[in-house]
Symmetry: C2
Subunit: 305 residues, 2 copies
Amino acid sequence: MSLVVVGSVAYDGVETPHGRVERMLGGSCTYVALAASFFTKVGIVAVVGDDFCDADTDLLAGRGIDLAGLERVPGKTFFWSGVYSPDMNDRTTLRTDLNVFADFNPKLPESYRKQPYLLLGNIQPALQRAVRQQMKAPKLVGGDTMNYWITSARDELVETLHDWDFLLINDGEARQLSGKYNLRHAAQAIFEMGPKTLIIKRGEYGAILFRPEGHFIVPGYLLEDVFDPTGAGDSFAGGFFGYLAGCGLDLDAADADPGEIRRAVIYGSVMGSFCCEKFGVDRFRTLTRAEINARYNEFKQFTEF
Amino acid sequence: MSLVVVGSVAYDGVETPHGRVERMLGGSCTYVALAASFFTKVGIVAVVGDDFCDADTDLLAGRGIDLAGLERVPGKTFFWSGVYSPDMNDRTTLRTDLNVFADFNPKLPESYRKQPYLLLGNIQPALQRAVRQQMKAPKLVGGDTMNYWITSARDELVETLHDWDFLLINDGEARQLSGKYNLRHAAQAIFEMGPKTLIIKRGEYGAILFRPEGHFIVPGYLLEDVFDPTGAGDSFAGGFFGYLAGCGLDLDAADADPGEIRRAVIYGSVMGSFCCEKFGVDRFRTLTRAEINARYNEFKQFTEF
């Protein structure tokens, strides 16, 4: 194993203009781990209830994901449901039942603690910090957060971010966290909080990588059909960090080869785009490394001049 | 002369978070012509009133723009004023006084009619068509339109588009014109209307070039400060078409070198980004070809991987 991923493993109910699924595997940890598993060995830290299906455990295990840190406790698995707007740019949450996730207190198996890569999914900042402290000497630590924590647990979040190498958030969150509307200025303010690598996700418009020495912008992939955008941002994170972990890279070494981290952003974009092609995690059931490589080449073709 | 540009020459009153200007030179034809003048010789077709200032005529003439087609009639010049939202993504029109523009009936000077390139700015589709018919055998014809004409003069617009080589519109207009939300599908529908080259402008997110053989996406330039976005789309059009005209290219020849039309899209993006750096057309007063080339290289740097 190489990459430890912490976050939620859940069941989702989703409705998009293309259809409706009552209950399917979801959660930030699930999407990150599945996407990253195409690039590196992954171990997850999460909690599920006694209703968690064997078929879902099998899917994760089938992708070589280490489940030693997947705690199973009495009660129900985290459940979320939502409905997307006709253009799928907005979604309304219908239900959030935290269930067993309400008392999630991540404990890392001994085998996880000496791993070089740690990705902290979008959970309470204090829990992210507690997980970070259980790791021995990770080479690279980064993660995600959301508007809810920026508003309700700002001081805790700022303290938590302090020793992260990278932060992956969307443009609205970057503006909210930094208090700056202009994204160049927002990036400067976030560098001062700790992370020296910032990836701003812009949904269908792609992503921006900010580093103190400069930035890199990649447009979003134009899909023929977006079936379900759920998990696209987490799949981006998994592709990005999975690729870096697979290369054995750390971000200081990226100073020597800035191309490697740009390629990681492309692999993130590739995985985010595949995620939207089917409901939930379905696209990852059949996806191959050859398809990933072909789409990477498409990114080259439609951006180079 | 090489490129004929038809559209509005106007006075604008603009308020942005950075300040307010009561009356300054504006209009689609003005921005297109100024931007294009850095790449090729331009002649304009437009109408102004007897209040049009010599200083503004001098600015245009100083950039080598042929003013033989700039009609001056009794009355006042077209006046528009508007105020931008704090994030400058929306604007509210405060006043639109068509004045002498209400009776605009473009007549091309004889010297214009044999020119190889024609750019039809955003005016009534029937007028665009009338101008097109006055040209002898242009190598390349294209232009812009807007939601107002798509709604109120759809049949006239569709008839007008029929013999255009390219169309430059924003994403909302592309969706409205085609009736398709997905931009790939929208492009297919627009190809069937005539233009085989479609450039979709996405504001701060950049632009997409669609051609039957594939597409090219360029992200927007991240400005340190956006002073005034007025005219950015027209400056894009001027940079794009000015570059093609400067190369002597036609879009059929672009099949042989698709790189040339991609570079034209970059030059469009470069000119749109410069336009936003100062109020109105002010940035074009001091801009140099060396600055344009430097920004072109910046586009390469922040997109290549």
